[in-house]
Symmetry: C2
Subunit: 428 residues, 2 copies
């Protein structure tokens, strides 16, 4: 027998983790394993290993204190090295004392949700959202997630009105909402949000008396055409008083997803104290913190790395988008992140998420390509799939070709008249 | 405003963490900083850095997968490398699939408590116990800790009767106890428990229908004369059916306290599944796991390291015990761990924990030596202090000399007739 909470968690393994592990256990290779899985389901950046290897494999200047007890909310060295980078990213001064380093962005999300929410309190999240967000935010805190559905017709752009409606509904249902969770760039859509929209969201939050959690773990993975603006940007905050708590990490922008180093930033002393107390349960290895400090402390290296990463992401996105377009598959134009929010609505046989699941299964079985169906991301309507394009380019090329051929061969049962071109053709 | 649980946690910073950080911020050095603090308050093993440095500072064979997503309950490589060591330590076969690797023994304790306990459920813990144990076990799980006081007259030896009484009292109070938490070697006393006593404790647990959590993080830090026996040892379990969940880590036996790598072992499938689900929130850097895998996979190195560590611990203990004895200070004879449970009862001016605190403060102010008062460890009676002897030997020598001189100078206000010799003279 186990506790109620533990039993719920154990029953709730995120679909994307299961698909990731299944696909990774038997990975496709054009020559060595042509019968393996082609995993486009995992938002992992595999385009930068050549830039990282010389750094992470090198001999390390390790001092005794690098293997000893240190503050459990992050070493001073790492927080001081991260502050200037984050200040440049957010265009806002960053005090290293306001940073809490924990074992991954998941831990950072868990901690801020647990700090803000007692069990039963609500968090409003525009949908579609990162598939593991409900688990990260609610799994341990006992909070509940209320989606604010965005509109497909509008390319799922962030809509302050949708956030406002979700907060109003929460109140009408007698729920206590504590925060709005905004992700930029958005995973899965790749949308980045303009300052005016972010400002309007802060105003909505302020009017409802709730905080804002900013998930900006892809902040340095924006390749344009739209440019990234942080919720901490002075142009966004403009004298407002709403508390903004920001999550960042090394998994995405630095391609170091295994290192499980997440960062929470907050300027509120009470939230900071509580977050530090919770960080005690999810600290990061001092050895890894020493490695990360050394990377960031070498400012020119880090700046060059991030530039080259953005270039490679842009190329990778362009290639994947062009391949999809060549097969007549549309998507939401992305400006950042690792994924393409792909419109397979024309190929749904029937309505509802049952049809979406059937299409997903058909793709998986017929092509051995792993993409993730929109339901995983709380998509407001069926037929959207997330395709990650940042793995080995040969795998992406072969997977999208297989996918395109399958879709061409089965035709588009529900394709409306005039369709055949991309729903949201990729920008030139 | 923050959540109720977060506010409680933020208010509950463990005293040993505060003292550690204060003392470490201004550390004593015989020449360079003679006015600094002499920290004997932290159970950290600083005797083995020369053995570790060549390994942790060397260039690393890092593969791409060492910085990528991996199972969040530990890489297969680390679990497979740890299994033989743990099997030898526990004298019991270990399936790597039954190991859950998380970010420190604290996280492992939090996870097993959260898996077993819903809020309000109880855990029985013999006292004195590790000072942060209430926070580790109850801070996030919402469990409550019920002490089973051990007897000073008996050198605080583990007493199955005390455990039985605590479980019976829990039931009488209408509490649902879920487990007994047993630590061997005991921190703070350094006691290791013989097989018959452990077996009797398992029988008590079985009779009450509760699990056992075995905290064996010092298992390879036993230098004798008593020898370590795990709760997983077949001589202890002897066909009993009580579930035993064991915690181990790299902080103590390998002197790698900063690396925050803890291990939970359980053979119960339901507990295992729930623990894996919770490990999602506190994973360990794959980079650090690769380092630890390499250490353990080199079996001869690891065996030699552990042997030399035990030798150094024995010498360090002997030196500290002799110094205390030379000043007429008694203690519980230890067989393992990093600390000496020191009997300063004769120097208490008055009764109760108020007098203990006053003595602690006097020592801190007059000698700048940081030791921790027994109240921190849930000591059943006042006057006992934990002294850690595994830091720089020069600091230990100077600190204990200062302490001894202070105690000699103030005399022993409450010393009974015939006192003056050690209460528990160190074994020869």
């Amino acid at each position: 027998m186990v506790s109620k909470r533990a039993a719920e968690l154990a029953a709730d393994t995120p679909a994307i983790a299961v698909a990731h592990l299944a696909a990774e256990a038997d990975p496709y290779h054009p020559e060595r394993n042509p019968g393996g899985y082609l995993n486009l389901g995992t938002a992992e950046n595999r385009l930068v290993w050549d830039l990282l290897e010389p750094r992470v494999a090198a001999a390390r200047r390790v001092r005794p204190e690098d293997v000893r007890y240190a503050p459990l909310y992050g070493t001073a060295a790492l927080r001081e090295a991260a502050a200037p980078l984050l200040a440049a990213t957010w265009r806002s001064p960053v005090d290293p004392e306001n940073l809490v380093v924990v074992s991954g962005a998941t831990a950072a999300l868990d901690i801020i949700a647990s700090v803000l929410c007692d069990p039963g309190d609500a968090l409003v999240v525009p949908a579609p959202y990162y598939g593991a967000l409900p688990l990260d935010l609610c799994g341990r805190s006992g909070a509940r997630l209320l989606p604010a559905p965005l509109s497909a017709a509008d390319g799922f752009r962030l809509d302050p009105g949708a956030v406002d409606r979700a907060l109003a509904e929460a109140r009408a249902e007698g729920l206590t909402a504590r925060a709005v969770v905004l992700t930029s760039p958005c995973n899965p859509t790749g949308n980045v949000h303009p300052p005016a929209v972010l400002r309007a969201c802060l105003e909505v939050a302020e009017r409802h008396g709730v905080d804002v959690i900013a998930d900006e773990i892809y902040a340095n993975s924006v390749y344009g055409p739209d440019t990234f603006t942080s919720l901490l940007d002075p142009r966004v905050r403009e004298g407002g008083t709403v508390r903004v708590h920001t999550v960042w990490g090394f998994a995405k922008d630095f391609g170091l997803s295994g290192l499980k180093a997440g960062v929470l930033h907050t300027e509120d002393p009470e939230v900071l104290a509580a977050a530090r107390a919770l960080a005690y349960f999810a600290p990061v290895s001092t050895d890894t913190q020493a490695l990360l400090s050394a990377l960031l402390a070498d400012g020119p290296w880090a700046a060059d790395f991030l530039d080259r990463n953005r270039d490679r992401l842009a190329r990778s996105y362009r290639h994947a988008a062009d391949t999809l377009a060549a097969h007549g598959v549309g998507h939401v134009p992305a400006s950042g992140g690792f994924s393409i929010w792909t419109d397979l609505r024309p190929w749904l046989a029937g309505g509802g998420f049952g049809a979406e699941h059937a299409l997903w299964q058909r793709i998986w079985e017929r092509t051995r390509v792993n993409l993730l169906p929109g339901q995983v991301f709380g998509s407001p309507e069926p037929g959207w799939f997330r395709i990650c394009h940042t793995t080995d380019p040969a795998v992406v090329r072969d997977a999208l070709t297989r996918l395109g051929r399958l879709l061409e061969s089965v035709g588009a049962p529900s394709r409306p008249a005039g369709a055949g071109r991309a729903t949201h053709p990729p920008r030139p």
